[in-house]
Symmetry: C2
């Protein structure tokens, strides 16, 4: 519990309503979207950058450790306190201003606490959107801090590609505020300090304001479910779509039979789109165009059917079936996978990322390993094939020792065997600290910690290396 | 001149031919593509990463300052020594291996000394290319170190977007070698140390190997020269093309009348494409598709004509004329601009970058300022409108005091008045040191220097801040 003197001082800095001490009110801030909840000494909710600076400076001067938090939708335990009850949660959820849109510039400048849904609602009348597409509704500050990816990464990239400017508060005794670029698309007049804060997960400081590039919304969309010959055919199919659809290709999502079956069995609103039974593997492909249909133009649905039709007729037999239908219906299966898995049993999730050429071989080796050593777990993987990301999820026993052994086996095969990343798009947090300590090269840890130390004490949820004193 | 003991030691490290002392042989390494030449104590040309490490470690231990150099095509004096004759040139031009292409992965891993032309020649048979398009033929190491942009930035982005992995040698006593990622598209399992070296211009260390994402080559291209109503119409036209052409839009280059006229007058091979005289301003627009023409599909030329035709008929009158023709002919004018300027007189070049909404207003204010205070200079600007980049070039007197006053006036208006960058895509080097010292916020300088100091002593051609002891 926070000392009375700190309570009073922090309450004075953030005003009434800005300091949450009541355990019931704290709970939402203490409980991550995945993994067990922690305990906060208090939740502090500054409403302005100046208040963030004052709070952070106070915390550093008095040795109070804190964890910055946006919408608390992260999946790496990077935004919640540990169980000690000694850490503060520094919630940025009141930083909901500004929300400024510059249509001609195709940029938006928002407070770190602005939600993705709020930004997109404000952009919609202008025909614009931030195309980073994911299941949750995070804040823009959280998205920048974790370098969010998502299902349309292959076309639009990650947050790093969109962040054109940041305002940050450093975890030092002064709560130093830094403006790192102002929304220029091109700027090589200074070194890339800003890039450290993108994906930095609070280790370098707290993001208080973000300028992002936004895009024109699609005005035409077509989608299909493809059935490849086998898992080895997926990458050649992707290459064919990359050429034939070019940059109109906006999604290419792999779905395993086990993941699809669980969604179909456990999500009542979902019907089985496959007449002939669920295939071993499927790919959801999506094409979009930013323009309205033009006279004389082949429709996007027809283009998709042409491309798939040509592939179905080819001798190699890479593609064995293709289902066309309304876009929402095609995506419904993909969007139900996580819910289906959770409803079917306890999930051990891995957010792995590979060189995409390694995806099929890793899966083959992993399946053999799992069959031999972990037959009690069912592999229900799906992923973003084009960028090498795999949500390598397993459903099975909750016994901690067994789970730890499974985690160890999967990560060792992926990271040591294939040079994979153990956190493709979920960022760093307490949940990955053991993997970080074990798999990140010691030299990289040392330099990361030394660079972070230049900026201050950082977040209590991420420890970058042994050289760092926190 | 380099002491005999250092000569012997460095020659032993890099072998015969690896150390150049002869003034005639040194000249090409001492003379930048723009600005006056410097003088090197010697040129050291290691042939492997291990040799780079040995040389750099030796230099740091004995206090020899050095400047890393790729193809020496940079425009910021970042790869050549000053006039003191005390700095070594550390040329990476012998690091021409590996040159490995992974077609399925759409990546290439190359030595820092591999030229862009060599990479593209190796990629061409696979239908791939690195789409960063610029006038020179730099090395991949130099492109990464300066975060090169180019004429197709609006579609493909800069080097930062393409670099998936780096091997670097730090400027410390051990010549520490770091591998920063291995070619994953998504990796949030570590903080973004790699990003510091992209655009770091040698301040953090020396890039010895690069893994880049590459793209499918266009199989259809269409181009046109558009005549906008006036400079204010350019941005609305860009917005219309962004919607109507979507991601098939690969270039949108602005050309001023003065720049075009000088090219037409001074480049013998170039003919005037405008029947009715050179307009006040023109835009080169390019669309591309990665697929071969398909049956029933409207050709890309027709699409471009449709979009331009609709704009010509619109009431707003944003577009007053459009010229269609072979792609090479359309680009010939754009590609001749620099040559035309140089042939017409001495050039003062500025590589500015703006929020694109500010481009027209800056130009208007700059024209008024130039007419009032610098009527002896002719503005011959052209630029990458879509990403806010302007090559704000002026032709006029070479008198140093007058040039310095002009430079001061333009940069003050651009940077102080509009938050522009004084180096949009040319990186940092000795030529911009005064601008860096003056315009980069002191706090940003301090943190940049402190972060660089974590990694070592860095390049002698870039000084990031007063806190740094070099």
């Amino acid at each position: 519990m926070l000392d009375q003197v700190h309570q009073d001082a922090l309450a004075a800095l953030v005003g009434p309503g800005g300091l949450i001490l009541d355990p019931a009110d704290r709970a939402a801030y203490e409980t991550p979207a995945r993994y067990a909840g922690g305990a906060a000494a208090a939740v502090v909710r500054p409403a302005t950058t100046a208040q963030v600076s004052a709070v952070v400076g106070y915390c550093v001067r008095y040795g109070l450790r804190f964890v910055p938090q946006g919408a608390n939708t992260g999946l790496a335990e990077g935004s919640t306190p540990d169980a000690s009850g000694t850490h503060l949660v520094l919630s940025l959820d009141r930083l909901a201003a500004p929300l400024e849109i510059d249509v001609a510039d195709r940029t938006a400048t928002v407070g770190a606490g602005v939600r993705l849904s709020a930004l997109n609602a404000a952009l919609e009348p202008h025909g614009l959107f931030l195309p980073i597409d994911l299941g949750a509704d995070p804040t823009l500050g959280g998205m920048a801090a974790t370098n969010t990816g998502g299902a349309r990464f292959l076309r639009y990239g990650d947050m790093r590609r969109h962040v054109l400017g940041l305002e940050v508060v450093l975890a030092d005794a002064a709560g130093t505020t830094l403006q790192l670029s102002h929304g220029l698309r091109k700027d090589n007049a200074a070194v890339a300090l800003r890039q450290l804060f993108v994906g930095g997960c609070g280790a370098f400081g707290i993001i208080t304001q973000v300028t992002v590039e936004v895009h024109h919304r699609p005005r035409q969309t077509a989608a299909a479910l493809l059935v490849p010959r086998d898992i080895e055919a997926v990458l050649p199919l992707l290459q064919a779509f990359e050429v034939q659809a070019g940059s109109t290709l906006t999604a290419f999502e792999g779905l395993s039979k086990a993941a699809m079956t669980r969604a179909i069995d456990h999500v009542p609103s979902l019907s089985n789109p496959f007449a002939g039974g669920v295939p071993d593997y499927a790919v959801l492909v999506e094409l979009t165009r930013t323009w309205a249909p033009r006279e004389g133009e082949v429709s996007l649905d027809e283009v998709l059917q042409q491309i798939a039709g040509d592939l179905l007729e080819r001798d190699e037999g890479l593609l064995v079936d293709a289902l066309f239908g309304p876009v929402e219906k095609m995506w419904a299966l993909r969007h139900s996978l996580s819910e289906g898995l959770r409803a079917s049993g306890p999930v051990v999730g891995f957010d792995l990322s590979f060189r995409r050429r390694d995806l099929a071989r890793f899966r083959r080796e992993a399946v053999l390993m799992l069959e031999a050593d972990f037959p009690d777990y069912a592999l229900c993987d799906f992923g973003h094939v084009a960028d090498g990301g795999v949500h390598f999820n397993l459903v099975g026993p909750v016994e901690p020792g067994r789970r730890a052994a499974l985690r160890e086996a999967v990560l060792t095969l992926a990271v040591d065997g294939f040079g994979a990343s153990f956190s493709g798009e979920h960022g760093l947090g307490r949940a990955f600290q053991d993997a970080y300590d074990r798999f990140t090269p010691r030299l990289v840890q040392d330099y990361s910690a030394a660079v972070a130390a230049v900026f201050g004490t950082g977040s209590a949820a991420v420890r970058l290396g042994p050289a760092r004193g926190n």
